[in-house]
């Protein structure tokens, strides 16, 4: 059977997220509790988490999480990594023995900064250099897959139910100010660990529920700009779209969200002149980045958390606020189990992105 990257595999899912916008850190057991409630929305073929603010002691280093199929692939990847980066720490990611998670790849973690000489030779900025190195490993080194490459954040994923994946990675030992979680229901997969969600590049991580019908239009759009969709998954292409719009085109995150979920022409035609011009220009320029079909997406980054829903609201996504915290989940019950009396609960509507910015105190660093 072909795995992700060799064939396009659609899937349904459950998603959840918690953010503390003041940067107070939350234990991983909270998000596990939330996603576990939606057990039936996944089928055991993939679960995962993204956590921001978990590595304060290495806040300025890129944290690479890598799956290896063999010792040979690790050797090849490390040769490349050590040549292109100054690696501070190289270690196995600690895991807990649990029979619910089957045999998988070796899982390693590196804290590293780009090799300055190589980076300056490449004439790329730090992020582009790092992104290209990650793409190189994932496309050229057989059996090695970098599944997390941001700073002070990390993705944890595996084949299994999300709550078991959380136990496996000992997420109750991690504290983060932003958590996202995903339970997967692929319709056809042998269960490849790299194919689980979240999908990540640099700071961006995405969990997603749905199957976008615009996939190939979006893929062929983004591949014009040096991206290579190796996973052939919706999450991958959506992550790249955001990365491109925000990092390369310098768009504010909510403008990038408008690109993906632009309102319908019927609405735009009746808007006041300035707004109409904005959306008309946006749709004309970024027609290839419009995302279509049912989806709910939660984008995590060190800037904050963005939740978007498809234009027709074909997928469920509920949001809630309580004090400094915001909660998102495919089902309201998954919010109430960790936050029984929220100040406000609402259903995220199509083409109205919700963005919760992180308001971290600069002096204290990126996390409390």
């Amino acid at each position: 059977m072909l795995k992700e990257g060799q064939v396009r595999i659609p899937s349904g899912c459950a998603i959840a997220a918690i953010i503390d916008k003041k940067g107070e850190r939350i234990n991983g057991s909270e998000i596990i509790k939330s996603i576990a409630l939606m057990h039936d929305r996944s089928n055991g073929l993939g679960g995962g988490f993204a956590a921001y603010g978990i590595y304060p002691e290495h806040a300025n280093d890129y944290a690479f999480h890598v799956f290896y199929d063999s010792a040979q692939s690790r050797k090849e990847c490390e040769d490349f990594l050590f040549k292109h980066f100054n690696v501070d720490v190289s270690e196995k990611i600690p895991t807990r023995k649990t029979e619910k998670i089957g045999l998988g790849p070796d899982i390693w973690r590196y804290f590293a900064l780009p090799n300055k000489v190589r980076m300056s030779e490449s004439r790329l900025d730090e992020e582009e250099y790092t992104a290209q190195c990650v793409t190189h490993i994932n496309t050229s080194i057989d059996g090695a897959f970098v599944f997390s490459s941001g700073k002070n954040m990390g993705c944890f994923k595996a084949v299994g139910y999300p709550e078991d994946v959380g136990e496996f990675y000992m997420l109750d030992q991690y504290e983060a100010y932003l958590w996202t979680a995903h339970g997967r229901f692929p319709t056809n997969t042998p269960g490849w660990w790299g194919g689980a969600h979240p999908f990540n590049i640099l700071d961006w991580s995405i969990v997603h529920n749905g199957e976008i019908s615009s996939y190939d239009a979006n893929r062929r759009y983004i591949e014009q700009f040096g991206y290579k969709c190796t996973n052939q998954t919706d999450t991958e292409v959506i992550t790249y779209l955001f990365d491109h719009l925000i990092r390369h085109h310098g768009l504010p995150i909510d403008v990038a969200a408008d690109v993906l979920t632009a309102p319908e022409w019927d609405e735009i035609d009746n808007m006041p002149a300035e707004k109409k011009e904005y959306f008309t220009n946006l749709r004309a320029i970024y027609s290839g980045a419009l995302v279509n079909g049912p989806f709910s997406v939660i984008l995590g980054s060190n800037k904050g958390l963005l939740a978007i829903n498809d234009r027709l609201k074909l997928r469920s996504l509920t949001a809630a606020v309580k004090g400094n915290r915001a909660y998102f989940a495919s089902e309201e019950s998954a919010i109430r189990i960790v936050c029984p009396d929220p100040d406000e609960v609402w259903s995220v509507s199509g083409s109205e992105p919700v963005f919760i910015p992180l308001e971290l105190d600069e002096k204290e660093g990126s996390a409390k």
């Binding site: 396009r8 659609p10 899937s11 349904g12 319709t187 749905g210 199957e211 019908s213 615009s214 996939y215 190939d216 239009a217 979006n218 062929r220 759009y221 591949e223 014009q224 700009f225 390369h248 085109h249 310098g250 768009l251 504010p252 909510d254 403008v255 408008d258 690109v259 319908e264 022409w265 019927d266 300035e274 707004k275 011009e277 904005y278 220009n281 946006l282 749709r283 004309a284 320029i285 970024y286 027609s287 290839g288 419009l290 995302v291 279509n292 079909g293 049912p294 234009r311 027709l312 074909l314």
Partner: protein, 500 residues
């Protein structure tokens, strides 16, 4: 004179039904029908019949039918009857064989070897009757990125854009090759449909000035009818480098078609042959094209997008890329099935490549060069129905040009005799007694009905795929699967085989 060629059709008259009213006599511009010596009985000379069906469709008693004349040749898979007849025609005249309309030969029609996708379970299909289904299409050069420092306000300097309410436009047919009534029909329909018609290289007749906002004006190698007002009375300007039906050669409107009105619109003497040279004599290379594009932008105060129409030839991907880099805002590719008022038969039937392959190759090339999103890509060259258009958009087209289909809606029966200047349906003729048969006030409704029907079908197909905006169909090749195609064909089309 005996020309060694059996007639093509038999006009069959049911004498029991015929009332000798003479309707067919009046209708046939080829003079097939006439009153017998008695002045009362209508008879027919089948040798002139072209199967245009004008007499059949208008006969009040339904007495007429046309049959293919059967006259067998000795079997020969090599020297077919068609080949032998063409030799006889050339032996009789010494001339280049001429034909009209698109290449009718039995080359593969890739549209018929591509199947579309639909949603099941994992992704809901969308009902176009209940949900908005967008087919609005915007053509023109796009800036690299949106400039917006905050949500809701664009600070982007947009080049001129053209907003269409359907991805279907009417392709170039000049006044001269078709009648003013035919052009007016398309102009009215274009306005009502929110799309554009195209003047071809025939100038803009003053009667059409009310529709200049819906006109694409062409600048071709003969530069007929080109002046400042003409350029500015348009939605966009199209430089015609080539035409799918006759790549690499020019055009020739015989003097007998150059009536007073045609001569005025084209700015040439009445009765003179209007000859469009094969190349533009100011474009001998790509850098010259850039200058012409620049000149046209200057002449129109940078307010009009400039499109460049090229025929689908072997190296089309590189040419399309060069054209885009030379500054064209819209690149039009015309496939080898594209129609024509007249073309040398050998050229029409043997030069150029299918639009499906040309479009796929050009779209991919522009993407490989990271410039696809900056320019618009329009496909032309025989779109027969809405699913052809859906497939073209999924291969990568922004919009499609159609001409033969709206002509059929007006009455054309593809008799392929446009080059004779006789058209019983009043379309490809300048004879007043024939052109008045086409009433734009009635015909435009048929054309609009056709495009509206296609729009409905496109929306239905998109809805089935779970797509509610044509933006998400464009270039979405996963929605296509090939059937019975070789690996090479699939590779060029950039699609998978059915079952994969």
């Amino acid at each position: 004179m005996i020309n060694y060629i059996p007639r093509e059709f038999d006009i069959v008259r049911d004498r029991e039904r015929c009332i000798d009213c003479g309707c067919c006599v009046r209708q046939c511009g080829f003079d097939c029908h006439y009153f017998d010596d008695d002045g009362k009985t209508v008879v027919a000379d089948s040798t002139r019949c072209v199967a245009c069906h004008r007499c059949v469709d208008l006969c009040p008693t339904g007495a007429l039918s046309i049959r293919k004349h059967v006259c067998d040749y000795k079997d020969n898979a090599n020297w077919t009857p068609r080949i032998q007849q063409e030799i006889c025609r050339q032996a009789a005249t010494g001339g280049v064989l001429l034909s009209a309309m698109g290449n009718p030969r039995e080359y593969p029609i890739y549209w018929d070897k591509i199947l579309l996708n639909a949603s099941q379970v994992t992704n809901p299909s969308i009902d176009p009757l209940r949900e908005p289904m967008e087919i609005r299409t915007i053509l023109g050069r796009k800036p690299e990125k949106l400039t917006a420092v905050k949500k809701g306000k664009s600070q982007t300097e947009m080049p001129p854009q053209v907003m269409l309410e359907t991805p279907i436009m009417f392709s170039a047919m000049s006044f001269g090759s078709i009648s003013l009534n035919a052009q007016k029909t398309l102009a009215i329909a274009a306005k009502n449909l929110g799309t554009l018609f195209n003047t071809g290289e025939g100038g803009l007749h003053p009667e059409l000035s009310d529709w200049s906002d819906y006109a694409v004006v062409q600048v071709a190698s003969g530069r007929f009818g080109v002046h400042k007002e003409y350029l500015n009375n348009s939605k966009f300007i199209e430089i015609k480098i080539g035409q799918g039906a006759k790549p690499g050669i020019g055009g020739h409107l015989p003097g007998e078609k150059v009536t007073v009105e045609v001569s005025n619109a084209r700015m040439i003497p009445e009765g003179s042959d209007a000859i469009s040279p094969a190349p533009h004599h100011d474009i001998y290379s790509i850098e010259d094209l850039r200058q012409l594009i620049w000149s046209l932008k200057q002449a129109t105060n940078n307010e009009k997008p400039i499109s460049v129409k090229i025929a689908a030839v072997h190296n089309i991907a590189a040419i399309a890329s060069g054209v885009a880099r030379a500054g064209a805002d819209i690149v039009v590719i015309d496939g080898y099935r594209g129609g024509t008022g007249a073309a040398p038969t050998r050229i029409r039937d043997n030069v150029g490549i299918p639009i499906e392959l040309a479009l796929a190759a050009a779209d991919q090339r522009l993407r490989d060069e990271s410039i696809r999103s900056r320019v618009s890509l329009v496909a032309a060259g025989s779109f027969r129905c809405s699913s052809d258009i859906v497939k073209a958009i999924a291969l990568g087209a922004d919009a499609c040009y159609v001409a033969s289909a709206p002509l059929i809606a007006m009455g054309c029966h593809m008799c392929q005799k446009c080059n004779t200047g006789i058209c019983n349906w009043g379309i490809a003729t300048q004879r007043p007694e024939l052109t008045r048969r086409l009433n734009p006030e009635i015909a435009h409704e048929r054309v609009e009905n056709l495009i509206n029907a296609w729009n409905h079908e496109i929306k239905e197909i998109m809805g089935g795929m779970g797509i509610n905006s044509v933006d998400s169909l464009r270039g979405n090749r996963l929605m296509l699967r090939g059937i019975g195609l070789s690996d090479k064909e699939l590779e060029i089309l950039g699609i998978k085989h059915a079952g994969e």
